[in-house]
């Protein structure tokens, strides 16, 4: 849920709206906000499944240190969504385990 009105920060500033594709579904986001914030605003809190036990993981540190929020972004796994700015048309997938690499290794 977005905080449209904040008693100290005031009204939410209008920014350019963009569209992200998350696991095939389209969601709205603001340009430049971290992908994780856009997903949280859309109510998506599980970002990946852990490799060994396939347990759900979400945002933990939000400053790019813990790598708990990594997802597959435009075919590249292990992208830290909490510090990666959202750009229009990005394709984002829930990362299962190590994820699939679009680029050949």
């Amino acid at each position: 849920m977005r905080i449209f009105y904040h008693p100290i920060l005031g009204k939410l500033e209008e920014k350019r709206k963009i569209t992200l594709e998350v696991d095939g579904k389209k969601i709205a986001a603001y340009e430049g906000e971290p992908i994780a914030a856009a997903l949280l605003a859309a109510g998506i809190r599980v970002l990946r499944m852990s490799p060994k036990r396939e347990e759900p993981r979400g945002v933990f540190c939000a400053i790019g240190r813990c790598t708990d929020c990594v997802m597959i972004v435009d075919g590249q796994p292990n992208v830290r969504t909490c510090v990666t700015p959202a750009r229009d048309g990005m394709k984002i997938q829930t990362q299962k385990g190590l994820g699939k690499w679009a680029k050949k290794l």
Binding site: Y5, H6, P7, I8, G10
Partner: protein, 176 residues
């Protein structure tokens, strides 16, 4: 309402005795006599905006900056400039001379939405418990307050020593 979680007693609470003994707290006579500023700041932290903002030099922290703020009630005219500047939201204005049976309490408030003047609200004590009904007398939120509004409520006089705020105006789920 199901049994609500009770805060651990003594864990944080500043006893009335400690508060009243601190140099920012007015005496009983002063509280009776005139509108007074009440500073509930009993810990030595490095902070002095209350001193800086007071135009009459009534609040003194001095050196070192961790001194507890002391207030000279004779110099203080209860203008209330210190209420919104206090980073700890620990300064209040209590006026027991408002009317025969009623007192006013002014306090800083930063929540959304703000109450409106004339609203009937629940006044709460330092523990967040509802103490009594109150009427909102004034809501001041000028730009200089930087989003810390000062709200003045009217309450029965006997509560003026415990009421320090109002119930949040957010819709609270009563089941919890």
């Amino acid at each position: 309402m199901k049994d609500r979680l009770k805060s651990t007693p003594g864990a944080w609470v500043i006893s009335r005795e400690i508060l009243e003994a601190s140099p920012g707290y007015p005496s009983k006579e002063e509280l009776k006599r005139k509108p007074v500023i009440v500073i509930e700041c009993p810990e030595e932290i490095p902070c002095d905006p209350c001193e800086t903002i007071c135009p009459r030099g009534a609040i003194v922290v001095g050196e070192p900056i961790t001194n507890l703020p002391r207030i000279d009630q004779d110099k203080c005219n209860a203008c209330g400039l210190c209420i919104p500047i206090c980073p700890g939201l620990a300064i209040f204005l209590v006026d027991n001379t408002y009317s025969e049976k009623e007192a006013t309490v002014s306090f800083p408030y930063e929540y959304y939405p703000l109450p409106k003047e004339g609203d009937e609200v629940n006044a709460v004590n330092r523990e967040g418990e509802i103490a009594c009904k109150a009427k909102v007398l004034k809501v001041r939120d000028p730009k200089s307050h930087d989003h810390t509004s000062v709200i003045t409520i009217v309450i029965p006089k006997e509560y003026s020593n415990q009421v320090r705020g109002i119930e949040l105006q957010q819709k609270v789920d009563k089941n919890e």
